[in-house]
Amino acid sequence: AQTVTQSQPEMSVQEAETVTLSCTYDTSESDYYLFWYKQPPSRQMILVIRQEAYKQQNATENRFSVNFQKAAKSFSLKISDSQLGDAAMYFCAYGVGAQKLVFGQGTRLTINP
């Protein structure tokens, strides 16, 4: 069964600095998708960034980028120039085609002013 592990329950960073959130997954599939979702106190699940496994190039969305290591089954999220609005729970998720997403347990990110 596919599993997703986020080994950092909590992280904190100073405003304007860079932080990296870790995620590892286990799968026997060769073609799949990986996602990072942000959940602020409002509870809304907001898509931050996604990566297709067949693409070697790491995805980037403004201040958010990933380090996708397929052989190591690692998918970390880097947030540059952290802002107070980045404070939230961050979930890593894995999916194959239209099937369900498998989520990690989440990492709570605190931004210190």
Binding site: V4, F35, Q44, M45, F91, G95, A98, K100, L101, F103
Partner: protein, 114 residues
């Protein structure tokens, strides 16, 4: 933002009563999902649908049923609510944005079973 609404947004009910949660989408996506979110577990799939009247179970389906009679609506029913079903419930829709598959989430329903 994807057009997904959930109703009700909050509900308090008593053990043993039936409860139905509704998810409505305006995106015409084929796939719809129900997840529950509990502390320490992230989100876990309850049921999903791959078309009108086509549904399948997820990893935590016991005590839940679903129905989908129209593309835009996906209902989750707790036949006889228990305290263990106190949770936050999220609906999601699955579709492609260009060539890329993504799931988009509704705002969630907080359910408290007393």
């Amino acid at each position: 933002d994807a057009g997904i609404t959930q109703s009700p947004r909050h509900k308090v009910t008593e053990t043993g009563t039936p409860v139905t949660l509704r998810c409505h989408q305006t995106e015409n996506h084929r796939y719809m999902y129900w997840y529950r979110q509990d502390p320490g577990h992230g989100l876990r799939l309850i049921h999903y649908s791959y078309g009108v009247k086509d549904t399948d179970k997820g990893e935590v389906s016991d005590g839940y049923s679903v129905s989908r009679s129209k593309t835009e609506d996906f209902l989750l029913t707790l036949e006889s609510a228990t305290s263990s079903q106190t949770s936050v419930y999220f609906c999601a829709i699955g579709g492609t944005s260009g060539p890329r598959w993504t799931q988009y989430f509704g705002p969630g329903t907080r359910l408290l079973v007393l």
